[in-house]
Symmetry: C2
């Protein structure tokens, strides 16, 4: 385990790396996107639907049977003319969210995508299978369960923004000293996307195809993305040059999976504040630390930053949207530099 | 009606306008995104769901009731350090699709977003309500109907790529001389997003909020976006400085709507090839030409380009993905220049 001390100067390092154009501008060689992974399925035998296309109009018969493309994912990239990162930086979102997590913050301030672009990284921001521009498929015929919709209450409380949600914003109780811009909470919730609990296998498959296509790379994951990112590194150990795990919620089971390939991949865990206030999070944190210990036993190069221990207080689960998101990105940037991943 | 002759040199004009950085690079001041529009809804009285989160695990009870944010839309922007467009260019997708329409083409070549960035426009690429990163809401409780999923057959035939779809790509019959890269058809279909037929009202509301926030602007619409774009111009006539209508599929009803505000907004219609091969398209084209005549009667400044009449053959409904997409973008760019919308 590395000390977190070397990261104390992260903000300064990041500032020095900020410019790749003139006066804060970016010199960009390409912006674009693609879908990757997925397969064709054919639906047959479904009854014809009657759909009313316009209010008052008679229903039209629609045949829902046929061929479809499903289980692909979506990737948006911004490539710099002269990147300083040796490889691109891939940003993977968490559960019930899409790549928007990494873009402009809900309070309108620049997010981690812009931070890392300014630090000189080509950035890739993706939507996993079933989310956002990746699209989703008919259920229960293709996706086998019902979708789930996160309530605002769950977003407020589970993401450690506050202890008690209320419909009226004035009645909501935020965590003392929170860094989350609570006035932008409703705006944050607009980023939410329905999720399925039955798609982990096809999601991993698409992520693996993505890594095969876009990497070598650094993978930065958040929350639910943790398990996918670690598994993708195991499945493609020559392709993933570092893993940054922002409050990852899961890992492959080290008693059932050979995780020895991780010993060659630098790994950084980052944790926010208030972890001890919810058993859900103390449980996740404990399991992640056990997993990290397993990686270390195998000779792995892991680092963990518990932000409060580094004197940085008040961070929610959505730390890339918190007021001090640049400060945290600076710690990540400093660690990436320390791993020799920049030119 | 303006002659299409002035547009013949479009490609050359566009080339001259290509550079805003050095040697093909873009000098970008900001990339980012936001959600706009929408409202909070509260669901009550729904039964608790039993969800199996992991294979083999017992079902967990999930309460689907609570507060949600719904009916917002998503906007991604790329701002240039020194734009040549006097206002930003907003790109609005068609039915069953998302903003990806405008990004990199399914064959991996640059799309219209990159074309117009290189021509010096700040570009805004959005996902309408219910699509992509805009997210979608529980049905039938919030969205009142069932979603619809476009078959590959419909994509092939309705979008005038070919006359007969088959599951086996080798068996598909393309239109003679098609400009669509048929080898990338499956890749194109991966961009498809389920749609609802009951969301026009809330979609228009979000588009209007978007125009209020992002404009003055030029609005470029495709297909289903046509009706939303024209209505948004009527609702915000001081904000929309020009409308580019790429095969729009609908309009407000001029017998029920005061469309006189359109007389001050330059409007360009663009139509591809094979229109006469499908009654669906001859019907739409005829209605659009009637609408255009109404605008002209009121003193409107409208232009129409039927690509085959201009000697440009083989274009599908997805002309921004066709092999000659740059040529068509060049015609649009030339028209925008002719309307005094560039510096």
């Amino acid at each position: 385990m590395k000390s977190i001390r070397l990261l104390a100067s992260g903000a300064a390092v990041a500032t020095a790396l900020t410019l790749s154009g003139c006066a804060g501008d970016l010199v960009v060689s390409d912006v674009g996107s693609y879908h990757v992974g997925g397969r064709q399925v054919t639906l047959t035998g479904l009854p014809t639907q009657e759909i009313i296309f316009s209010p008052g109009a008679p229903p039209l018969k629609v045949d829902p049977n046929g061929d479809f493309e499903v289980e692909q994912m979506y990737v948006h990239y911004t490539k710099l003319a002269q990147p300083k990162g040796k490889v691109p930086l891939l940003l993977w979102h968490g559960g019930g969210l899409a790549g928007v997590t990494w873009e402009t913050k809900p309070d309108g301030k620049p997010g981690w995508e812009m931070y890392f672009l300014k630090a000189g990284w080509d950035t890739y921001v993706s939507d996993a299978v079933e989310r956002g521009r990746a699209s989703w498929a008919r259920f229960p015929q293709i996706f086998t369960t019902e979708p789930m919709f996160r309530t605002k209450k769950e977003g407020w409380e589970l993401f450690r923004i506050g202890t008690a949600y209320a419909t009226d914003p004035k009645q909501r109780v935020a965590n003392a000293g929170t860094q989350f811009p609570t006035e932008a909470f409703d705006q944050f919730i607009k980023q939410g996307i329905p999720r399925w609990v039955s798609n982990d296998g096809v999601t991993q498959k698409a992520y693996d195809a993505y890594v095969q296509k876009a990497c070598p790379c650094v993978v930065v994951v958040h929350s639910q993305g943790g398990n996918f990112g670690i598994q993708a590194a195991l499945n493609n150990p020559d392709k993933v040059k570092a893993l940054v795990l922002v409050e990852p919620s899961g890992t492959p089971d080290p008693t059932k999976t050979d995780i020895s390939a991780l010993k060659n991949i630098p790994m950084l865990w980052v944790w926010g504040d208030y972890i001890n206030t919810l058993p859900f999070w103390t449980g996740i944190f404990g399991k992640q630390e056990q997993f990290r210990a397993e990686v270390n036993k195998l000779g792995g190069k892991t680092t963990v930053i518990k932000l409060p221990d580094a004197g940085i207080k008040g961070n929610s689960h959505m730390m890339m949207m918190d007021r001090n998101s640049d400060q945290i990105a600076g710690l990540v940037q400093s660690w990436l530099v320390s791993q020799g991943l920049t030119k």
